[in-house]
Point group: C2
Chain length 334, copies 2
């Protein structure tokens, strides 16, 4: 592994996590990138009506690659994914020899969405993989802010990159961007410290998800109108990973996916929201539930299929959205 | 070259165009894809303040690859690009042996934007290359609808793909999608007939470019509000190639980049609008100038730097935007 990456990770004092699990996941992202690169016919089918089935093919391929990677990590004891949403013990492959470090007390549960953004695979837009790594033998009924210790976002675009966030109790939080070579699994650190910037901002960005909800939510429509009036720049791909990574790359941005009566919460807390929230927080931003304004990582998960909306990005922007979307209801509670 | 691709192109009756120029451009798109794939450090710099210089590095690399490709095509007599916006004769490389076909009457001028979407390279979003191919020794002061006979869009995302549009006088117009292998320059036809779909549409998409203009244009703001009210799905990457290719992949979509007093026309007609308009028309869609509602390809270019706004996509949607944006002014002319 890249020496700088090794140094950055080793400070966490979690040898199995940093020398086995994270490298395995980065290698797996290289594998998924290669699979996508050659999956022209899958994408073709995506343009036809029978999208469901073919989408499943790519998803299943990515799912298998992640599971194969985890099978080589003795410290990963349980896993669940958006494709198979139940926590199950991980069967380790024969070559997963347990090193001295790994025989330590480290035990992890991994929750992942192998391929997020299936609707934009056919047009060849950037898509991603989302992974959350939890201390212990389950991610459920645990305080996410403490127990989810790492998250990895794989980004499949013109290049293959990954965002790695690490927040181990007792160590400083880290968020870094890694470039991933296609052929030889070489990783190198592109940015050792991914951070939202401080004001003033040359350009301010907004990503309004679930925009159809604005038709029935005057406060969401007002928010959109305000962004337009304040000349924010619109960037919205519809892929959660690229949309959040855009803000991280620019140093500014706010992603808003509200929930209304007719437009239900659809982001999965375990596979999408918790890892994204950890990344955003480790980069100095904020991620909240638009329904009550609470931090995404504040509430334990009840089950693998828990869902919610999301507001995340630059802290001040998130606070502003909270006031705008919840201001009236908070007022009425007084 | 892929046999199906060969067959599709050969019907145009332009051997130099179809057996030399287009294959050279597709090979060049594979080269640019590989360059981007390994340009992690360039993208890094893109996240810093000194974006201009580093953006230039990737642009210049892509520019050189296109020029090198054109130098091998004896039929290409002149070229100009967004990076070097003046039509100049092409100096052919020594290995550009002129075949019997190429010694024919075919003479082309190529206009290209080597790398469109520099602002979204750092976040690793899909970007593109835009190429227009014109009959004769110049693209200027010619009727674009007749003289621009082909266009190629390179799409650099998780995969590398290209859209090829061909409209040679006397032959049927064609629009096809090609998958491009990374390693071995293999091309294969993903879709032999790229077409906007007919209603009814399961999902309708809109891509509102230059959204800040809505702050000073009530008609543009009204248009956006209508899309929200009619539950259109928002997809807007800010890259012209991915935004248009999204509509082509989904079979529906409308891209709107209006022009207002404070927000001037910034899309270049020669390097961006004309090739995009040819692709959209060959796929059965429509591309108009939002200022007067005229077809993009109706008016000859005065110079290499001519600029305009753009409304393009599904024909009915473009007509609707025209009514919405120009309705009032058309009314007042009566």
């Amino acid at each position: 592994m890249d020496r700088q990456l090794d140094q950055l990770l080793s400070s966490a004092g979690r040898p199995a996590l940093c020398q086995s699990v994270l490298p395995a996941l980065l290698g797996c992202i290289a594998d998924i990138a290669r699979t996508l690169r050659t999956s022209h016919t899958v994408a073709l089918a995506g343009t036809a009506n029978a999208f469901g089935d073919d989408q499943l093919n790519v998803d299943v391929a990515a799912e298998k690659l992640v599971r194969d990677a985890l099978a080589k990590c003795p410290a990963v004891v349980a896993a669940s994914s958006e494709e198979d949403p139940a926590e199950r013990p991980v069967r380790h492959s024969r070559d997963a020899g347990q090193t001295a470090e790994e025989a330590s007390s480290e035990q992890y549960t991994v929750a992942f969405d192998p391929l997020d953004g299936s609707s934009i695979i056919a047009p060849n837009w950037t898509v991603g993989t989302i992974v959350g790594i939890w201390d212990g033998a389950s991610a459920l009924r645990q305080p996410p802010a403490e127990r989810q210790v790492a998250a990895v976002l794989g980004v499949y675009g013109p290049r293959t990159t990954a965002i790695v966030a690490l927040r181990v109790p007792g160590a400083e939080a880290a968020c870094l961007e890694v470039g991933i070579g296609d052929q030889d699994f070489r990783f190198h650190v592109i940015r050792s410290r991914v951070r939202f910037a401080d004001p003033p901002f040359a350009t301010r960005y907004f990503a309004p998800a679930n925009l159809r909800a604005a038709a029935e939510s005057p406060s969401y429509m007002r928010l959109i109108t305000q962004y337009v009036g304040k000349k924010y720049t619109l960037r919205y791909s519809g892929g959660l990973v690229p949309d959040v990574v855009h803000a991280l790359a620019k140093g500014h941005g706010v992603y808003v996916s509200p929930v209304t009566a007719a437009s239900r919460a659809k982001l999965r807390r375990l596979y999408e929201l918790c890892p994204i929230a950890l990344v955003v927080e480790c980069a100095g931003g904020r991620a909240i539930d638009p329904v009550d304004g609470e931090e995404i990582l504040a509430r334990p998960l009840e089950g693998c299929d828990d869902r919610a909306g999301l507001v995340c990005g630059t802290t001040d922007e998130v606070d502003e959205v909270k006031r705008e979307l919840l201001g009236a209801s908070l007022e009425s509670c007084r």
